[in-house]
Amino acid sequence: MVDTLLASLTDGLLIGVVYGIAAMGLTLIFGVMNVINLAHGPIMALGMFGVYLLFTQFGMNPYLALIPVGFFGLILGIVIYAVAVNRVIDAPHLSSLLATFSVNMIIIGLGTALFTTTFRNVDYSSLGTLTLGPITVPLTRLVSALAALLVTGLLYLFLQRTRLGKYVRAVANNRTSAGLVGIPSTRVLAFSFGLGSALATIAGGLIAISLPFTILSGSTYELKSFVIVVLGGLGNPVGALIGGLVLGLIEGVVPVFMKTTWVPVLEYVLFVLILLVRPQGLLGAKR
């Protein structure tokens, strides 16, 4: 029992970190511009396919492939912002929700036609497994979790230490004032959307290395990201990491005690309850 629990716990934590950076992308965008990016899932799916194609077509190491995939996410996000979001940034919520959802439909529509909906996977099991006492984990999971932590660290340094990162935080804090002191807020917004999308594609890529996927898989992870974001506080990137761990733990540990099908019930009930009781999230919202 303890062994199973330990194994589940480890599994949960490892996948939780990856969920965490996916949610970080979502929460970063919300924190900066108050937009819930409903194209988040499909962007993650594009990250999955990015890693998949670079790995299968060009034989690239899937972890190295995350770099060009992340860069692609950045550009894609900036384009999405410019085309779909900028015009509705100050409009009522419904507008930005529907604008990003229309991007979701476009990506899924084209993606389904291009890639079909058959399952793919990045077969990188050659990395082997790691055994520590009762726990055996595929090394890919461990490396993915470490990569996710690395990305988190880089993001943190970027936001705290670089001029552009400070701009992002300033715009998140108060767009009007940031504009008044000469920060090019539209460009910072576009960049932030790009950054959020880059995190999404990287998270997608990391998931693709461990789990099979289709172009539609993103929506599952998008919903998970919502749960995580709310757990950690909307707009709070550090909260997202913690929220990811919590969700990972729930997914890892709950099936030990009850049917797996109860996991989503718990997740979503928790999600709604937190929105109601503590909308600032467990750790508090942005700022």
Binding site: S95, L98, G109, A113, T261, F271
Partner: protein, 328 residues
């Protein structure tokens, strides 16, 4: 009654009546199915509009009431052997009661938080139903086709359900108009424009919003029973489909949120467009339109949101005073 003479009421009613009568005149099954989908969408979109258009609360998971009503009615018919009509009414009542309970809780949330909560509730409900063995769990329930005999066989049943859905669509439009021109509706619109200012003026927002939420849930619940009775099967994936929820939002936006005619127009245009995209042979950049119909619909939605956010009817109303008087 003054309302009956208002073109804002009879224009949409006449449109729906003509639309509903059309398949009976042509007597073609395929036409009836297309119009059935349009009428269903009119009923659902007009109901959603009460919450979305009048009250300004974005329910992303509104289809949950369609699914709940569907499950409730289906269970009564399939397991307890009820007749369709009472089952459908109970389906509506179940949807309305659950909306009241949920509404009292989540209508305190505003903006994005409310929208997220509705998605959460839809997904939670779906996940919950999957675990309910008496509702058939993940595979759902299937009607014994013998049941249709009570309704004059499958062929006759299709017409019965068709007329029932048409009637609900008419009721939805009638309701939509009457709410909009009532004191209650005025309170809702005040909430939409500025909830705090509305409360300072004396609008009891929490109560008004809860009523609006319940009103917007009842007809979808009835429609759920009717729809899944016709399908003969119900399962969690088809009853609680987030995508369908968002399609409803698109219809309301397309026609014009907060207008009576808008959801009707939006439902019609969206369904017709969907069918024509699905059957189109035209190719775009080497991809057949029918394969990328979702992307084309997405592009269309984006264009509407970016350039005519008030929807077709809203746009027309803003163009001329005459139209403003005639169209509601």
């Amino acid at each position: 009654m003054k309302a009956w003479r208002s073109p804002g009421l009879w224009i949409p009613l006449v449109i729906v009546v003509i639309l509903a009568a059309y398949p009976a005149l042509t007597d073609k099954a395929s036409t009836r199915e297309t119009v059935f989908n349009v009428l269903l969408a009119i009923g659902l979109a007009s109901s959603l509009n009460i919450l979305l258009g009048y009250t300004g609360y974005v329910s992303f998971g509104h289809i949950v009431f369609f699914g709940l009503g569907g499950y409730a009615g289906f269970y009564l018919i399939d397991v307890l052997g009820w007749n369709l009509l009472p089952a459908a009414l109970v389906g509506g009542a179940v949807a309305g009661s659950i909306a009241l309970l949920l509404g009292l809780a989540i209508l305190r949330l505003r903006g994005a938080y409310f929208a997220l909560a509705t998605i959460g509730i839809l997904e939670a409900m779906k996940a919950l139903v999957i675990n309910m063995d008496f509702l058939g769990g993940p595979t759902g329930m299937e009607l014994n086709f013998q049941v249709y005999k009570d309704y004059g066989g499958a062929g006759q049943m299709l017409w019965t359900v068709y007329w029932a859905v048409a009637a609900i669509a008419l009721i939805a439009v009638f309701l939509s108009f009457n709410v909009k021109l009532s004191k209650f509706g005025l309170g809702l619109m005040a909430i939409r424009e500025d909830e705090d200012a509305a409360e300072v003026m004396g609008v009891v927002a929490q109560r008004a919003k809860a009523y609006a939420y319940v009103l917007s849930a009842i007809l979808p619940g009835i429609l759920g029973t009717l729809f899944f009775f016709k399908q003969g099967v119900i399962e969690p994936g088809s009853a609680f489909r987030l995508h369908m929820s968002i399609e409803l939002l698109v219809m309301v936006m397309l026609g014009g949120a907060g207008t009576v005619l808008g959801p009707i127009l939006g439902a019609g245009v969206y369904q017709v467009l969907r069918v024509s995209l699905l059957t189109s042979d035209v190719a775009l950049l080497g991809l057949r339109i029918r394969d990328i119909q979702l992307a084309v619909a997405g592009l269309l939605l984006l264009l509407i949101v970016l350039f005519i956010p008030s929807g077709a009817i809203g746009w027309l109303r803003s163009r001329s005073n005459v139209l403003r008087r005639v169209l509601e």
